[in-house]
């Protein structure tokens, strides 16, 4: 599922509004450097399940978690990141698709679960705000 991973990163990193908040601090969940600055975006695949008809694979359902993370007491940055993530990753139900460049396309992408977490580490306070997105991927349609 490298194509969808690359596409999620491309969508997030190409957005000027998101860049105005986090700069280039956009990381795969498992590759966040210790010295990474705040606010920042974490993204990563949570689950992936192939869907079959009686004869063949029909499409693949993946769940992506994408969230803003910030330190301190202000919620302004994580709220703005959260809004931007949602605008970028929600696919309108008008037949729009996202081509993944490997012969497949995302034909459904919607937030399924909100992710909201307050983390305390001594005196430090971290806010996590975002969502989990269900995406359906199928071979590109002619």
């Amino acid at each position: 599922m490298k194509a969808i991973d690359d596409k999620v990163y491309e969508i997030l990193s190409d957005d000027n509004d998101l860049a105005a908040i986090v700069g280039t601090e956009i990381y795969r969940e498992r590759s966040v450097p210790q010295e990474a600055a705040f606010p920042r975006v974490h993204y990563g695949q949570v689950a992936g399940t192939p869907q079959y008809t009686l004869k063949e694979r029909n499409h693949t359902r993946v769940v992506y978690q994408v969230k803003g993370v910030d330190s301190g007491f202000s919620s302004e940055a994580v709220n703005s990141i959260n809004d931007r993530i949602d605008a970028l990753l929600t696919l309108a139900p008008d037949g729009s698709v996202i081509q993944l460049g490997d012969g497949t396309e995302v034909f459904y992408s919607r937030r399924r679960v909100d992710v909201e977490e307050l983390e305390m580490d001594g005196d430090q306070r971290y806010q996590h705000l975002g969502g989990q997105y269900e995406m359906l991927i199928r071979p590109s349609q002619p």
Partner: protein, 102 residues
């Protein structure tokens, strides 16, 4: 006229509706137990408190305590190690098949 009759235009007796309800409840409970077993087996363990807190309920819900929030969603120092959503996703299709057979 009940909702099923309105939607399907059929004359459902109370016995049939009760059978459907019992079938759905059995399917939901069975799926909740499958999800709970999966989470218990795969959740990261340090003290075992999170795995021990997993409970499947009759209404088809699953509750998990301990450190599940941090494990599922990650922290600034620890990447997410999701177990609940993958377990739910694995069971989701089986649940739909069970419903069709209910």
């Amino acid at each position: 006229m009940n909702l099923a009759e309105v939607i399907l235009g059929a004359d459902f007796s109370k016995e049939i509706l009760d059978d459907i309800e019992r079938g759905v409840q059995r399917a939901a409970q069975g799926s909740a137990e499958a999800v709970a077993d999966d989470v218990r087996a795969n959740v990261k363990r340090r003290t075992g408190a999170t795995a021990a807190s997993v409970e499947a309920h009759e209404d088809g819900s699953v509750s998990v305590g301990g450190a599940i929030g941090f494990l599922e969603f990650g922290t600034v120092k620890m990447p997410a190690s999701p177990t609940v959503v993958p377990a739910f996703e694995k069971e989701r299709d089986r649940f739909e098949r069970k419903l069709k057979g209910a």
